[in-house]
């Protein structure tokens, strides 16, 4: 079986990368193919990279509070690129109402400060399995 392919990205201006790096390492240790874009990326850069790398999962981390500005852009760009089947997850510190909003928008999972590593791995595996082969 092909390993799950994941692109992790930081969008916006904040430099809080503790969480995204813990997630990157967790997924890598679980045998997934992980690309991390580094900081301060635009939605365009992130979506282009995700499509180019042909990943199963796109994970976007931000702790600057702009989740409700960034994610609609990401979904729109994915649609434009014909990649609407890409699994999108979010990570960061945010109010509960925003978590609900993101899920309505199509974000499949929101990883918060205390989400355990094993849960992250099992959730991604499940989401990829549910989606089925591409």
């Amino acid at each position: 079986m092909q390993p799950v392919r994941v692109l992790l990205a930081k969008v916006g201006l904040d430099g809080h990368d503790r969480g995204v790096k813990v997630v990157a390492r967790t997924l890598r240790d679980a045998g997934m193919d992980v690309v991390y874009t580094g900081l301060h990326r635009t939605p365009e850069e992130v979506v282009n990279a995700a499509v180019q790398e042909d990943v199963d999962v796109l994970g976007v981390s931000l702790l600057s509070g702009v989740q409700l500005t960034v994610f609609p852009k990401i979904f729109k760009l994915l649609e434009e690129k014909g990649a609407s089947d890409m699994i999108v997850i979010a990570g960061g510190v945010m109010p509960d109402e925003d978590v609900v909003e993101l899920k309505k928008m199509g974000v499949r999972e929101v990883l918060l400060q205390d989400t355990p590593p094993d849960y992250i791995v099992s959730t991604l595996n499940r989401l990829v399995q549910e989606r089925g082969p591409r």
Binding site: L13, Y36, G38, L39, V66, M94, D96, L112, D118
Partner: protein, 568 residues
Amino acid sequence: MDDMTDRGARAQDQVEAIRAEVRDWETNEVANFLRKQKERKDEFFTLGDIPVRRTYTAADLAETPPEDIGLPGRYPFTRGPYPTMYRSRNWTMRQIAGFGTGEDTNVRFKYLIAQGQTGISTDFDMPTLMGYDSDHAMSEGEVGREGVAIDTLADMEALFDGIDLENISVSMTINPSAWILLAMYIALAEKRGYDLNKLSGTVQADILKEYMAQKEYIFPVEPSVRIVRDCITYCAKTMKRYNPINISGYHISEAGSSPLHEAAFTLANLIVYVEEVLKTGMTVDEFSPRLAFFFVCQADFFEEVAKFRALRRCYAKIMKERFGAKNPESMRLRFHCQTAAASLTKPQYMVNVVRTSFQAMAAVLGGCQSLHTNGYDEAFAIPTEDAMRMALRTQQVIAEESNVTQVVDPLGGSYYVESLTTEYEKRIFDILKEVEERGGTLKMIQDGWFQRHIADFAYETALRKQSGEKPVIGVNRFVDDTPDPKIHTHPYDQTTADRQVARTQRVRRERDAAKYDLLMERLVETAKDPQQNMMPVTIELVREGATMGEIVERLKAIWGTYREVPVF
């Protein structure tokens, strides 16, 4: 001499006698008790992974030379930077605040002052921190969201409207663009006719920990360090009471490091800054008295107290022995402290008040000079007024009701705390030695060595929380499925960006374009000559209505930008 030798021998005998008694106790009382009831774990460690023993005795205390413990306000300042500490004046209660425009944050400042806060601390929004104006494309959605938006001197005037800056100290948490904000602060003070030598406060301006941890950087390392140098030398000459830098471990810790690495990496950065300023020909005693520090206070109570005490001792020794400081004021470490935001939880969020209280108590017993206590809602968003009042009240209870302020360094002489303080000192100096042997701090930043250590400890912490080895109440222990009471988080005012951008554009329209162009040319010339100081021309520029983003963009064209290779 014989008398001294005699006394030394007697002390040695006493230590041997205590050790013998401890061995006896281990074989009898302890062994008998363990047969009935085991200890919870085979080995115990501090949160920072330092092994701790069952108990400590006078024999352990004897391993620290008495002169290393000393007295408060006297070298090596282990017991505090001042002889009377909180008996004279409590620490400054300095809650950080910032959101929306200058006017919006000004209201919060005045509220906190009315509630008994004794210092001001300013949080800037991400565009300001990263050097973008509010109308730059990169700023979309972020204007005034996580802090206050400042583009021009006009914003700064609104921020401090009606606040007497000669009578309250102001801290500004800003780094790569710090010198521009400092220039605005100076321009504002001059406009109001203040005596610059009466202004007290701090600008963070610690760029090296940005490359290591917080990741708010704009320019490459070399020009960035030069800007820090310029802030320090400028303030040493013109603002006698102002701290031109806040050398910070806080963000290193929040990015995931152990308390030991927080302490050691911060002092590694200190050494770079001191060396840079010395190259300008200033003597160490001309600027060191105004160097200030900023540390986190984590959850391991005694470890944090020991960390602060060890930091003061290490700093004193570095300044005296390595840099040859003569003035005791150059050797006494003063620090701001903030409780650990990363320790806060969403589930059962009111427990955050309890966590913060213990951390604040450790900060006070560790001898901090100013303190920010976190809001119970900071695992959700930036804090509300209500959360900040509770946080301030926490400090006020410690200061007014607990009586811990009556005696200076009340944990001084504790067998455990003194042993751990000395252990910290030893380990900090070991790390500093390793950094030098590997080629120095700047090289190790480029190599990602610090970043690697921080990421490793962050990852281990995540695994330890998962396994339960690191208990977190409400998360992996005493989980309660009953929903928490609904929390009201700080709302974002959607009109912020429009209000902010309107003012920035008005300032651009109304300024004298010819003067602006001329000064921008001077900025470029100054930037190209590393011997010159960036402060004077920047002060003139902001006075004439230049925006922060314009200054930064012009300099990016000369100095370039920094991009890191992520380490994980």
